[in-house]
Symmetry: none
Subunit: 400 residues, 2 copies
């Protein structure tokens, strides 16, 4: 946001901010109440009384965000301008590194017989078999025409590949005939700059098919969703704050790394995430902290479990407040109403706590309180980083 | 705002609008209350009950505006698009005219010895000495290579110069070595169009140094912040309303003149400002009325004095209402919370009164009432002029 003037406004100081994300925390009413309204949240209630509340819309009015755009917006990058391609998301979700200049693609193991694709998913081979085949490829294919790559199994028959070469551009059609009974369709470049990418993908498929020639049913692969890492200014350069991303799931760690955050590995529980925050608090200026299970419960359509996960999230608040961050922001990357069983477009409740944040009359961290009594109003997600910087005293005055 | 369609929408009638600005009036909570909440404001309260309330953000989310951007936004000009350079602000703040085509610069008197700058502020000479040196320059330098200029002393060792020539463009590096012990650094153009400006500035410095050769410690000058007046469509042309700006301080009169408002001189008190409004009410369609002291008290960190200044401001309301303006808008150019002692990013309360303004449930002119009960919601400052025009019946229907 305000990309044109932001670089001239950023200044540094010793403040620290925590951005606490409960994935999919917003909801919509079921019998008159949302999950947040139904939950017992004494810590969030107490904090809400001393904070500014409002609602944010992650991408835009009515737009349901995926996790990628949802988080990019929270990090202050316009998710419509900076789109994260499918290949990059698959790679991040598989726990791979994707950095500027990389080309990431999604792969399907598939079956070819007599020159025709007979199964686009290779009989939906199990994840273990997929991992075995990926290992075989890794051992037999050190590079593609001199270009290094990483490959990693995802779920079932799917895998991801990241090619490391700045010359590889992503305007490439899928190497996928889309239906069975047709011959393989080679990758084709949509522009001149992407011809090398198409060639490398086609050589990769050819080599993989050779390596797997004695396998059944997975004896070839399809490649889709070629995508470069978005060309963004990394978080620390953009904001002057050294950031870390504390998360359990690979997707969120990957999104954090995409903007240049350090991401500790090996965290599996909320307790471990809190412990990490405590132990590394002094080493960073900005802590993005991700809690997943509010979203999972919403996607399962389980109102009561989402309530329980919100109550679990609530228990983390005192330990985080004990660190006395200069600014604490609590929100979600999108809403996931359990009635919908999906991510949704509903605005997400937002709380900003800090010495100079207006203490409004909202007495609970709920959608309704935020809308009725919140001083912040409705803002785009990309405004949140601006408010974090402002409340941290990290923005110069604009103009004299 | 809506620059593309606005010219086709403007129509004229006999309505009159008053834009009443209490500088820095917004605040944030201290022990649960803002200065506006703590103040006794019977007149504002009564008016709020019959008006529309809301909040505006002067430049953008989280951005703290200087007075220049703050006022440009109120006048309906996008403050990010129309940036007012340092030289122009210094000139306006010194009470000088700056019009389209001018090039304004800030000057420092400095000390040069044996070809090196030994003091960038000439021992911080007092304002009186500065004025004396400026007078000497004025007497001895009628023009610079035929280009006319005005020069005026500012505070201490600082002065401002406005060169009047449309050929002078402002892409010029500061003529300032930034540190002592170095030789003077001539102004350098950053593009071809600005080469004449660099030359004129360098000749000006050379002549000044000659004129001051027997002075100590101020025997040369540095020139910084070269800036053209922003290329804007003047207020009356843009809105079809003949405007005046009633203000005590040079900066606000200067900002008003920048957009083409007439600005009476010699006003020193709120009472004199009101008297001027009364006496000239029929001569203009639009009256910008500036009250300074809410901001001054906020910048001094004095909660109680800011409360007192708000109460003083409140006493002006009946006299202004007695003029029966068709539209009265009350707001600030930004917030200045006394807890922060600075301008801030907090949204500013806004009141719109007029025959067709929605009378919402807000019963006081405070940040909280505006957020909780205001019909206007949160809007950018540039929207305020649109609402003034609309409530004045000065905008045609858009489309049939």
């Amino acid at each position: 946001m305000y990309d044109e003037i932001l670089p001239n406004l950023i200044k540094k100081n010793e403040t620290k901010a925590v951005l606490l994300i409960a994935d999919g925390i917003g909801g919509t009413t079921v019998n008159g109440h949302t999950e947040l309204e139904a939950a017992r949240t004494p810590n969030l209630d107490e904090l809400a009384k001393q904070s500014s509340l409002g609602l944010h819309y992650p991408v835009g009015y009515g737009i349901t965000p995926g996790s990628g755009p949802g988080h990019l917006g929270l990090f202050g990058y316009d998710p419509i301008r900076y789109q994260i391609g499918r290949g990059v998301l698959e790679a991040l979700g598989s726990g791979m590194e994707v950095v500027r200049g990389d080309l990431a693609v999604r792969g399907n193991f598939a079956t070819i017989e007599n020159g025709k694709i007979t199964d686009r998913r290779a009989g939906r081979i199990p994840t273990e078999k997929c991992a075995e085949l990926v290992q075989k490829i890794r051992e037999n294919l050190p590079d593609v025409e001199g270009i290094e790559f990483d490959i990693k199994a995802a779920r079932d028959y799917r895998f991801a590949v990241v090619f490391h070469d700045e010359r590889l551009k992503d305007a490439v059609e899928d190497a996928d005939p889309q239906q069975t009974g047709l011959p393989p369709r080679p990758a084709a470049a949509r522009d001149e700059d992407s011809e090398l990418s198409a060639k490398i993908i086609n050589v990769f498929i050819e080599k993989v098919t050779e390596i797997l020639k004695n396998e059944r049913p997975a004896n070839t692969c399809l490649i889709r969703g070629a995508a470069n890492s978005p060309d963004i200014v990394l978080f620390e350069k953009r904001y002057g704050m050294k950031p870390q991303g504390i998360a359990v799931y690979p997707m969120y760690k990957g999104l954090a790394r995409l903007v240049g955050m350090e991401t500790p590995s090996g965290l599996e529980t909320l307790e471990q995430e809190i412990e990490r925050l405590q132990n590394s608090y002094d080493d960073f200026d900005f802590h993005f902290f991700h809690f997943k299970y509010t979203d999972s419960a919403g996607e399962d359509g389980d109102f009561d479990r989402k309530v329980a996960m919100i109550e679990k999230f609530d228990t983390a608040i005192p330990d985080i407040l004990a660190l006395k961050p200069d600014v604490l922001v609590i929100t979600g990357d999108h809403s996931t109403p359990s009635s919908l069983r999906l991510h949704s477009w509903h605005p997400v409740p937002l709380l900003i706590n800090g010495e100079f944040a207006f203490s409004d009359s909202a007495a609970r961290f709920t959608e309704r309180e935020a809308a009725e009594k919140g001083i912040i109003g409705h803002i785009p997600a990309t405004a949140i980083m601006m408010y974090i910087l402002a409340n941290c005293g990290r923005l110069e005055k604009f103009g004299a």
